[in-house]
Amino acid sequence: MGRLSAEFWVGTEARSSALLLALIVGLGTLILHYVFGVWGDRIATLLLMSLMGVLALSVFTGNSGIVSFGHTAFMGIGAYVSGILTMPAAVQKGALPSLPDFLAGHELGLAPALAFVLLAGLVAGLVTGLPIARLSGSGASIATLALLIIIHVILVGAREITRGSQTFYGVPNLTTVWVALPLALAFIVVARLFKDMPAGLRLRAARENEVAAAASGVNIFTARYVGWVLSAALAAVAGAIYGHFLSAFSPKDFYFDLMFTMIAMLIVGGMLTVTGAIVGTALITAVIQILRQVESGFDLGFVHIPIIFGLTLVGLGLALLLAIWRRPLGVAGLYELAWPASAGPTAELAAAPPAPPAQGAALEIAGLTKRFGGLVAAEDVSFRVAPGEIVGLIGPNGAGKTTIVNMICGQLQPDAGDAVLDGASLAGQGPSAIARLGLGRTFQAIRLFDRLTVTENIMVAALSVEESPGSARQAVARLLTRLELRSVADQRAGTLAYGPRRRLEIARALALRPRYLLLDEPAAGMNPAETDALVATLSRIRDDFGVGLLVIEHDMRLIMRLCDRIVVVNKGQKIAEGTPEAVRGDEKVIEAYIGRRRERAAA
């Protein structure tokens, strides 16, 4: 239970931000109501309905970065479920004569009907998420498009229940501004809190960098699945409210047109934040409502404006174009509305004892082999890294170093051999499971979650292993101090200079409380002074955390100074292993590696 409740933990900033956003939308609605009367209520109802749909969409699309074209299908499901359950029995007999008995004659109120809608949305999300959460990027988007079409065909085909392509009528007109308002406010709070919950944070991490997220212990499928299911359930409720507004609809009302409107709202506002979803919905609604008044023509007394239909659609198109051109991330961009941050006391933390390394255990690489067609990238490579030991893995370009690293981390499955971490075989484990078992890593080309803050970057990994949100926060605070990142803790990772970026990546890997850390060319692109600083940092990490380090590096100076032992590979095979001095004098190494360099230098 402790673990589950930890999943619902959110910081005070997210909570206050959720309240602030809800407050603003609530106030806006009241202003529309008290200033503009019934006319304002109508606009507010449209606005709140759209907002519900856009927020439901943003829970998945905003946090995962995968644009979903399928969400109106869930809205359709919600509308039909609620329509059937609330329909007066007399109307239902005429409209749906062949409705299956278990669905007929319920005449539920809106609240109980919405409970069933939520359930239907959950089920639809659970089923459709199984394939979709496994996909990434545009592949996933295309899959959602296919989903939209499939559900549309099902709605058209289920004639007994939906009247097929014919108008589904008799749905009670239940959507008023006072029904839509509390629901929309609830959606705002849910969407905003989810974004900062562990599940939302993991989903955003996967959006920023899938490989790094997995290496930080994030199960990508689970992260996407959770977001998808929640998003689908919310969309179903939004659809039910939309259905009770229309009171007569057919599957085509939940097809491409509605989808594009919702996506337009999300893109214009900015899909990365809840603020963006609200701003986009409000902006597009305002553009539509103002232009449709203008296009209907009116008399100002001194000048008569004629009817110009089409203005609304032109305006909508222009707004979308302008947004994409001037603000590719939407009007809100990365900005999330929040109370001005109160400079709370920085929790000073006692240095927690590092995880004690298991005695006698080691990271054991045993006979790893990988072939790509005829090319042998790694052949029977074996070596070990003891706790607290720093081992260098070197070799000329194309020697197979990265292949070996990728096999150890689970990104590549070896054709033969195994990596054993303190007695536990890593064979067949995915990158995220291996990360949680205690193997942290950094990447040759730094992989950070660029649009997440420094703190959030580390938090993603900390949440993978820490028992409670509290201990995760402490771990993050400790690492911020240790890696000298405290001053940039609230900056986005993408804005950092090179040095802090490297340190952040290491901090994130250390947040996994790893027993072994794999560093892929940590000094790449550094000047000698920076490299010296890095050597000091890495030595300190070994001393402080007691971790074993496997360092893949080209920089001979760094390797020779830092490592206790060096493993040399060439053409996929281990050709030498030993202390820096021993390796430096090894004939084969000179021939394969250093020798070639000399030749090149001579030439």
């Binding site: 009528y169 057919s250 009116f298 089409g310 659609l313």
Partner: protein
């Protein structure tokens, strides 16, 4: 300007915008929540053009029943059902006497849900789904030939021609392409015909080889193939049907009443289809087309201009029958009791119907790139299948 006055000004402006120009006591405001842009504009636009011309003419003669000038409050629904609901809410709140809804069932029924409780008689511009009035209630009326009436006339014609067996091709994707052939099959069987088979297609499907093979495999070949397909499906289907050597007669609905059909050459020779009206020599439609041409300088592109033109005259007939009364219940009863109102495309009767009018429908035959009149008739209400 203080905050208070600016809010007041904004409110006033908003109210003025929402309500449109205030109507005089004698005026009769008709609200139009129709699709002037988007997917339905191809039917709602010409309907509105005809509608406006009729209003001009009626007003020139002193207004409805000679005394109520018509004022139009026109709103575009962008072919969006939610926007139609909003427009209907605004028009009903503004106190319109009659509401006009788009040429489609969803927005018409949705808008009808708003006007029905307000007791405002409402017409769909040219929605053909026969369930539109019954789904809404006693204030909702159709005007255009309904799907089931078109189907009944086509079945009558098939029986008259001596066809014994028919193949129907339908698409579940829209109510029109699905129900019209189903209504046809119902009437055709009731009158002694046999359905030799039926096939389905998806809208936009370009390959009809499976359906054509199915028809080709029938022994004996069906006397007639009936479908409510329209472009781009109908041209693809008929080309593939004819090139497979199938010579059965083909019956279509008003969806193929477009110039495209005439461009299909000999493949469509002999095609008989329904239409709301046809400008044959000396007909009311021909006279209207002449008038339209004289007025605008161009021949009408579609029959929807004529059917849109008819609606204000239906309202005029009702107001006249009600002795000039314009309150909702009186007007509703007057419309529901209209009988044999002479209009451009023929006579229209609401009395004794479920508010989808009994009216003349025209059958035309395509040959040599031109249409000729087959007949204009009102299907016997007893033959028209229940929606």
């Amino acid at each position: 300007m203080t905050l208070r006055t600016s809010i007041l000004a904004a409110t006033t402006l908003a109210t003025a915008l929402a309500a449109g120009a205030p109507a005089l006591a004698e005026d009769f405001t008709i609200g139009l929540a129709t699709a002037q842009t988007g997917g339905l504009a191809f039917v709602d636009q010409p309907s509105l053009q005809g509608f406006q011309l009729a209003v001009e003419e009626i007003n020139a003669n002193g207004g409805l029943a000679g005394k109520h000038k018509i004022v139009l409050d026109i709103k575009d629904t962008r072919s969006d059902t939610a926007a139609t609901v909003q427009a209907a809410q605004e028009l009903v709140a503004a106190g319109v006497k009659v509401l006009i809804t788009p040429c489609d069932a969803d927005p018409s029924i949705a808008a009808g849900q708003i006007s029905q409780p307000a007791q405002i008689p409402s017409f769909t511009f040219c929605g053909t789904t026969p369930t539109i009035p019954s789904a809404v209630g006693d204030y909702m009326f159709g005007t255009y030939p309904a799907d089931n009436a078109q189907a009944a006339l086509l079945a009558d014609y098939a029986v008259e021609k001596g066809y014994k067996t028919a193949y129907v091709l339908k698409s579940p994707d829209t109510a029109y392409t699905l129900k019209l052939p189903e209504y046809f099959a119902e009437v055709f069987q009731k009158k002694g015909g046999t359905i030799a088979g039926e096939g389905t297609y998806a809208l936009g499907q370009q390959d009809f080889s499976a359906e054509v093979t199915k028809i080709k495999g029938l022994d004996p070949q069906p006397d007639v193939v009936m479908t409510a397909a329209y472009e781009p499906d109908f041209p693809a289907f008929i080309k593939q049907l004819r090139s497979a050597g199938i010579t059965s007669a083909v019956l279509g609905s008003d969806g193929v009443d477009s110039p495209t059909t005439l461009g299909l050459g000999s493949d469509v020779d002999g095609l008989v289809h329904t239409t709301a009206g046809f400008p044959s020599e000396g007909s009311g439609v021909a006279a209207f087309f002449e008038k339209w041409k004289a007025k605008t300088g161009a021949a009408p592109e579609t029959i929807y201009i004529a059917t849109g033109y008819e609606i204000p005259f239906i309202i005029d007939a009702a107001v006249t029958a009600a002795g000039g009364a314009t309150d909702g219940p009186t007007l509703r009863d007057a419309i529901a009791n209209l009988k044999d109102v002479p209009l451009v495309t023929g006579k229209v009767t609401y009395a004794g119907t479920n508010r989808m009018p009994s009216r003349d429908i025209t059958l035309v035959e395509v040959r040599g790139g031109a249409r000729t009149l087959v007949k204009t008739a009102t299907p016997d209400p007893a033959d028209v299948p229940a929606p």
